[in-house]
């Protein structure tokens, strides 16, 4: 299969593509760093939407038009709406993390990143036609779709037919997720009057964990512990 593309492989590298590439990737890096540093949850959620949208733009330059479509609609649209509504129900600000608690995370991330950078040398060059990922099954789909599925969009053909079970599994996952959200939140709030009994003890307004954080009880608890 690699021989087939040998003739077309020496297409000159297009400089504008590289420029768009660098431009969009730098925006992505800036947005990702801003997400790490930002404390306002509204800002974090909106920047996450921006990140999805910019990556959708990048997908267009990488010929993945279907993915760009889905990422813009689902990643930048639905995800952002979901996170905004959850943020409205939860909190507006995140508390800053003390520096000493960031070192562990930083060490893990630097180690994992170094391991992955070490492996980068073995990856195929960007845009390589003859790389193993591009030479075999993907190009078989390209060659056979016109004959077997008879539609021009190969991504749709593979999604719906060649890998149809995969898509079915995806639908099962979405159904399970919807079921899970329903079970967690309910259609009607806590209309059944369900009460949690951790360790067999009944929690009332004063003994619930949330009560400890309200103004009246916070002052009492440390004193009670000191007395013991």
């Amino acid at each position: 299969m690699s021989l087939i593309f040998a003739a077309a492989a020496d297409v000159p590298f297009v400089p504008p593509l590289i420029l768009i590439d660098i431009f969009l990737l730098s925006i992505l890096v800036v947005v990702a760093v801003a997400i790490v540093r930002m404390r306002s949850l509204f800002g974090v959620v909106m920047l996450q939407g921006v990140y999805s949208l910019v990556s959708a733009a990048w997908f267009v330059t990488l010929d993945a038009v279907d993915v760009a479509f889905t990422e813009a609609a689902v990643g930048a649209g639905v995800s952002t709406v979901l996170m905004l509504s959850a943020m409205l129900l939860a909190d507006r600000k995140s508390t800053p993390v003390p520096m000493r608690r960031q070192f562990g995370a930083l060490a893990v991330v630097v180690l994992a990143g170094a391991a992955m950078l070490y492996a980068v040398g073995d990856m195929p060059a960007f845009g390589d036609v003859n790389s193993p990922a591009n030479a075999y099954v993907g190009m078989d789909f390209m060659a056979k779709t016109a004959e077997e599925i008879k539609i021009p969009n190969v991504v749709t053909a593979v999604l719906g037919s060649y890998r149809g079970y995969d898509t079915f599994g995806e639908v099962v996952v979405i159904f399970s997720a919807g079921l899970g959200v329903l079970l967690l939140l309910g259609l009607n709030g806590n209309s059944g009057g369900w009460v949690a009994r951790p360790n067999g003890q009944m929690l009332n307004d004063h003994s619930a964990p949330s009560a400890a954080l309200s103004d009246s009880n916070v002052a009492e608890d440390p004193q009670a512990e000191d007395a013991q």
């Binding site: 590439d21 890096v29 997400i35 038009v65 993390v97």
Partner: protein, 158 residues
């Protein structure tokens, strides 16, 4: 030119991935953690799509070989254009002699599935966050752990 940038995308994508992973590890706020997870996930999509790109290629949507490739009798006007009988229409598939090159569709398909599954998991995580907020009145991990300790909800102490 190609040598300098041949692995540029991978390096930047790894940096982005690690930024998302760092947000997941370091932040104590559950919503921010989920935003970081989202960034991590999107960066993995970037990695896959980068691999599927073919230099000089075009989106994997077959071009109809009707208006300019063949005449009305189905006779090829261009030398070497591969024609495939597909009902009434025929499409140009990439091959020897064609100047058409398509990018690899397989990573696109995998990532399409992953995007939708990602939203499903995100919604579960957000529902858990909202439920935790209802009980604990906070979504900061430190305060949740403190409340668990004070009320012995983990059942470890006597």
């Amino acid at each position: 030119m190609p040598d300098i940038f041949s692995h540029f995308n991978y390096v930047v994508v790894i940096v982005l991935m690690m930024t998302g992973l760092y947000t997941v590890f370091a932040s104590r706020n559950l919503i921010k953690k989920l935003a970081g997870l989202s960034v991590f996930q999107t960066s993995v999509f970037l990695l896959y799509i980068t691999i599927g790109k073919v230099t000089g290629g075009q989106p994997p949507i077959l071009i109809k070989d009707k208006s300019y490739g063949v005449d009305d009798e189905g006779q090829a006007l261009l030398d070497g254009v591969v024609q495939v009988a597909a009902g009434k229409d025929s499409y140009i598939i990439g091959g020897p002699g064609t100047d058409i090159l398509y990018s690899n569709p397989l990573p696109h398909v995998l990532i399409l599935t992953a995007i939708v599954v990602g939203v499903a998991t995100l919604s579960i995580g957000l529902a858990l966050t909202v439920r935790i907020r209802e009980v604990y009145e906070t979504i900061e991990e430190d305060e949740i752990e403190a409340a668990d300790f004070v009320y012995n909800l983990e059942g470890t102490a006597d």
